[in-house]
Structures are given as C-alpha cells and as structure tokens.
Amino acid sequence: MVALVASAALMIALVIPSVGFAADPDPADYPALSTEQMGHVRHMINIANQLDGDFSMMGGGGFAAIYYMSFHAYQFQFAFAHYALASTHYHYTPAHRDLYQETSAKLIKRMIYKDVWDYWAHLSKFDLTDRTETETGEVMVTYTEDDWYGWIDPNIKKNIMYSGHLLQMIGLHESLFNDHRYDEQGSLTFRYAPVEYDQPPFEIEYDHNRLATVIYDQFVEDHFRGIECERNAVYAECNQHPILGLMSYDLKHGTKLSPEVRSKFKKVMQKRNYIDPETKTTMYFLKVKQDAVVPATYAWADGWNGHAQHVWDKEYIDSIYPYQQKRYIPSMLKGPPGENMGWTAPFDFGWFALLASEVGDKETVQLMTDYADANFSPTWVDGGLYYPSTPDYSYNFSRDENGFIQNVGPVTGNVLIGFSRINPADGLWHIYNRPFGPSHFANLHITDVDYLEASVTQAVFDSAKDALIVTLVPGPVESSNVSFTVRQLEPAKTYELIKDGKSLGNISAEGQLPSGTRWQDDGSLLITTALREQSSFIIKAI
C-alpha cells in the first residue's frame, strides 16, 4: 500500500511538476557544451577580445589574401564568429547573457574598424567580372575613367558582402539580448582618414534603421535580383545575410520588409537558375550587365548559401542538400596524393560543414570534425581551440602525400569548423523562427562569471520546472574559487540551491542563506564556490 501511494505521488510529480514532488532537474537532460565546443567558443571570444587593430591569427599573405575577393577576409571571420556565438548562446547558454552580449558588441566594433571595411574605397572602382587573360597569363582588370571613383561608404551602394553581415550581426544583437543600442543615431560610426584622396578625415554615421533602409532600398532598386557584392557581380550567399538581418529588424521594429525581399528574391533568381535545377548547386555569381549566371559546383557556395537560406526556406534546402552532400562528401576528404584541389580548397570544407550542421546531418558533421581533428592540427591557445591556417593557404591547394586536404584558411580554422561542431540541427532556423520572447528576458540568469577563471558550459532556465541549471568548468587561469551572480530571483519565492546533486540549503529574502552565498545591494545573489573540476548548480523554486 505504501509503495502504491509513493508510486502514485511520483506519477503526479512527473505529470504535474508544479506540485513540488518532481525530481530535481538533471543537468544531463539539457544541452551542454563539450570540451571541444567550449574551446571553439573561447577561441572566438579571444578573437573578439583582441585590440581593434590586432589581426593576429586571422590570416596573412598580404593585402590580396585578406581584401580583394578574399573568402578569408576579416569581415567574414568576425561575422561568422558572431553567428556561431549566437547559436551557442541560444542553444546552450541562454541564461548566461553578459559575456555573449559584450562579445557581440565587441565583434560589431571590430567590424566597423577601418581596416576591415576600407578595402571598399579601392575595390569599388573595379569591375572584377570584366577580366581578360594575356598571353603570359596575367589577369587584367579593365575600368573606365568613370569607374575610377569608388565609394568610401561601405554600406551605401553594393558591397553587400560587408553591409549584409553588419545588418545580420546588429539584428542578432538586438533580438538575442533585447539591446537597442544600435537604434541610436550614430551608433555605428565609420571613421576614415583618406590621405590618398587628399581629404580631411571624416565620419559616416549609421544606425540600425539607416542600415536596414539603405539595404532594403537597394533590393527594391535592383528589382530584387540581389545586391551586388562588387561591381557587376551578385552572389546568392551574400544576399542571404541581409535577408536574415531584415528578419531580425522586422521582429523588433514592426516592419515587414523581409517577407517581401525573400519571396521576390527567390522568384527573380529562380528564373535565372541561381540554384541549378539539374545539378542542385548554387551559382558562382550573376553578371548583372549581361544578366547571365556563371554556374558552378563549389562546396563553399552551396554550404554558405544553403545554411542561411535554410533559415527561411528550410524544406527546399533540406530537399537539395542530399544531392550536394553526395557530390562533395567523401570525395572532398580523400583523393589522389598531390591532386590540385583548386583555389577554393581552404574554405570549401568549412562552409559545407556548416550547412551539414544546420540541416542536421550529424553523421557528416561528425565525419568532418573528426577529419579536421586528424588533419588540421587542432591547437589550444589560452583555453581556445582552433585549426591554424596552413602556410600559403591562398596559393597552395594540393592534397598531402596521403591524399588528404592540407589547406586551411583562417575563416575555416578560426570559425567555421567550430561553428559546425557547436550548431545543432536547425540551429539558426530556431534563432530566427523561434526568437526569444519577453518572458525569456524576465527569467533567472547569471552574470559576472570571471571569463579567465571559469567557462559556463550550460546555463538554462527551465520555466516548466521554475529552475535555473548552470554548469561551470575551470577556465585557463587556475583559481581557488569562482563566483557568479544570479539575477531576477523573485523575492516572494523560496529557492533551493543544489550543487552536484547535493542540496546546499534554501534561499529566501528572509531566511539564512547557504554557505558561500550572499545578497547584493541590487537584489541579486552572489554565489562563491570552489571549482577544481566541472560543477553543476540548480536553483529551483520550491
């Protein structure tokens, strides 16, 4: 009879958690970052933390490697690190905000540093699609006298390969953190001192509204066939980012710009077979003046375009992905020793791995991350994990003596492989289609974890159980104890504090607090604890 009553009580507790008989939340039931995933996160944060003008570890090879037509450019490294950290925060640590919010702002600040965007003052002069090869193999770029004057402002016209990312980053910042700082006039100020133009230094002011308006107007002006990256060249993947940026903008500003842009963009571009219906592969680019698509079968183009289009066109991308996977994998991973893999080798891998993660092809993601671990020299620096760029990644595309890829460019090694390992199935899709609502921002969350001393591998508020679940691991700096602050506890409630499955006592406004905890003046709770290995904390209302 006793057993029967106990059993019934357990059943009730499981079905109706709020009655108080429910089992404590188990941290193992919630997503948590693995050691490697946390390492990738820390590496991207380390990059964000560099001085604005410090581009260490972000690739070399001179001006050409980073600027002109470069798929390794700083802007892509900052932007994709931003998206990777957005996915991390949304899926693993939604209740750990300050670190991700500050890092997001730092990446945006780095993005508007002159060395990242001033290439446009030069590149905007050229129509790089209009090239001829001489007998000696030189590629000459032709331009007219009118073309000589480009645009210094990196957002005002074309260059969607920059401005589209900036819009997406700002939109994510606003939607993930409910932080409207970029709505303020002049919050995005571009400073330029164009000595070579014999002009005094000047500033170009943008904000979220102006940037969204400038980009939307270009879509309209271009009849939704996409905004050019450089002169005369529309790339499909570059136009996915402003579309996602407009989705976030709509969410917080009450507009409906993105549905129009994405439906018309797809219609216009489908007419031109931007994704070839036969090969299921994404075009290289569209030549605007000639209205001609340059077809291609590039893993990077499919990966880059697909992972982002999947956010708003999931069924379609899911339907063509298997063809693309079959085309590139596993032949990308193994081939004849010494084979020249072409100029896209250093970044094909990374963008395709990202697509595989977004569509939920866990097997391919596992295959590719295992491959990266085996062949791309995984390296830990100051708690961060990355794959260093190989020497001459811009020019040397041959497989090694065993037939494996030996080319890793900085965008793949710093960001994309880590992003793929972190991003769960439909990872970006969820961020945009199930955005955080007002209740999220009212929930319990933690702040003020010293980034040097501890990493937060999970921080989740389970509203059904009225419980905050947090797991910490030691950071790169050894420390006898660490502390963190719990915010938005309700004064009327009593909470139980559990560490690694053991109750440490109750927390209430009136009662005695567990050892190592204290109320702070602003009503938050400071928890200080020894941290020699992974520890999980649960703070649940009782």
Binding site: L51, D54, V195, V381
Partner: protein
C-alpha cells in the same frame, strides 16, 4: 621653361602644404605669380607635376606631414578627453609633474619587446627626471597577462607598484598564478589583499578604460609609446626615446602658448 617649372613647383608645394602649418618651402618664391592662373595651368597640364620626381616627392612629403600633424592633433585631443583616467589614483606613474613631456607606455608583462625595452626605459627615467612616465597596462597576451595586470594595479594600491613591476619585467619565469603570487610576496605585498583587489570590479573597469584609451589612440600592439603627441610602436632604445623627447620639447618651445 625651367624657371616656370620651378615656380610651379614652389606654388604646388605651397598649395599641397597649405594645411600643414609651418612649411620648409619659401612662399616668397611665388612672388609675381597669380595663384589662380598657375592653378588653372596645372589643371590643364597635370603631367608637369606627375612627371617630375622632385615635385612628386615633395607632394608626398607634404601629404605625410599633414597626416602626421592631423594624427598628433587627434592624439592631443584624445589625451585631453582621458585626463581623469591618466590622473586616476589607479594609474601608476613616476617622474615629473607633467610640466615637461609625458610618456605613456602601453605594455604587457608577457610581451618580449616590452621586456627588452624595460632597461632602456629605466635609463631614460634615470636621466630625464622631469619627464612624467605613465604605466599603461595593456594585457593582450592572454589570460595570465590580464591577471598580471590586475595584480599590478592591486600592488599599486599597496604602494608597491614599482617593485612588483620591476620583478615581473625581469623575471625569467613564464607567468602563471603561482609565479604572479610568488613575485608579489617577494616584492613585499600582502598577497591576500592583492587577491581581493584583483577581484575588485573597479580594477577590471579601470583596465577596460586603459584599453579604450589605447584603442582611441589606435594602438595595435605592445609596446607602444605616446610621447607628448607622438606615437612610437614596437620595442625602443633609450636613444629613440630621447630623440623624440627633444623633438617634443622643441615643438613646445615653438608653440605660441609657450
């Protein structure tokens, strides 16, 4: 034609250097020339300027001087905006009261060129007592650099910055927490208080502000030196610093406020 060209050169220099302040060119050499006419002539025959190496070089130098002057002016304005930070009780400094030239060094305790420059700086400090010297913590070599910077500011609170700074700059050991605390103890610091101060959010905030100053000054690595309104990047020798100090003093003497 030769004379005309030289006159054009002179005028071009005047035009190019118009915004540069004091110039080496002699404006009197343009006597008798109508600037509008010369300008018009140059617009019609720009090859005169393009094809003459001497003129091209002079124009390039004028551009450079103008850029240097602009950057110096911007630095002066930034330093003025950060006066409170530079005079903060958390900012370690030594030497004069600031009536002479001020040097700000941005450094990291794990940066090899910073450590190599340290004896050179000591030499300058010893021979230039009037110079105010500000220690700008700019930890860019990872977590232990940040901890060392926090510890240095905490040591400053105990009045032992100079000793701790010297010990960290001259230690043969790589930095970790054991080394940092052992160094602190050897320097005579109360390590328990040091650890508490290292956790003080005010110390963290202070280091963020120093970093903001460095970024405003477009510092992109360590060591970097702001000497008066000039910037030197990378490791230095005492002679480099003295030369810049002399230049700054000469500039101050020339300035109308002097």
């Amino acid at each position: 034609m030769h004379r005309a060209l030289r006159n054009l050169v002179a005028l071009t220099l005047v035009l190019a250097g118009a915004a540069c302040g004091p110039s080496d060119s002699d404006p009197s050499s343009t006597d008798g020339l109508d600037p509008d006419l010369v300008r018009e002539y140059l617009l019609m025959h720009p090859e005169i300027v393009l094809d003459d190496a001497e003129v091209s070089d002079a124009i390039r130098k004028a551009h450079l001087r103008r850029e240097q002057d602009r950057a110096a002016e911007e630095r002066r304005s930034i330093l003025k905006a950060y006066t409170d930070l530079l005079q903060s009780p958390l900012t370690p400094s030594s030497g004069g009261t600031g009536k002479d030239v001020t040097i700000i060094e941005f450094f990291d305790y794990q940066c090899a060129p910073c450590r190599a420059s340290y004896p050179e700086l000591q030499q300058v400090r010893a021979t230039e007592p009037g110079v105010r010297y500000i220690f700008g913590q700019l930890p860019i070599y990872g977590s232990h650099s940040i901890m060392a910077a926090r510890a240095a500011i905490a040591a400053h609170r105990q009045g032992l910055f100079k000793e701790f700074h010297h010990a960290l700059m001259t230690t043969d050991s790589g930095l970790d927490m054991k080394v940092i605390f052992a160094t602190a103890e050897k320097a005579g610091l109360d390590v328990e208080k040091l650890q508490a101060d290292m956790r003080d959010p005010l110390v963290h905030q202070y280091l963020e502000e120093v970093r903001a100053l460095a970024e405003a000054l477009d510092v992109t690595g360590t060591p970097s030196f702001i000497i008066g309104d000039a910037k030197l990047s990378g490791g230095v020798r005492a002679g480099d610093l003295k030369m810049e100090l002399d230049r700054q003093r000469a500039q101050i003497k020339r300035s109308p406020q002097h």
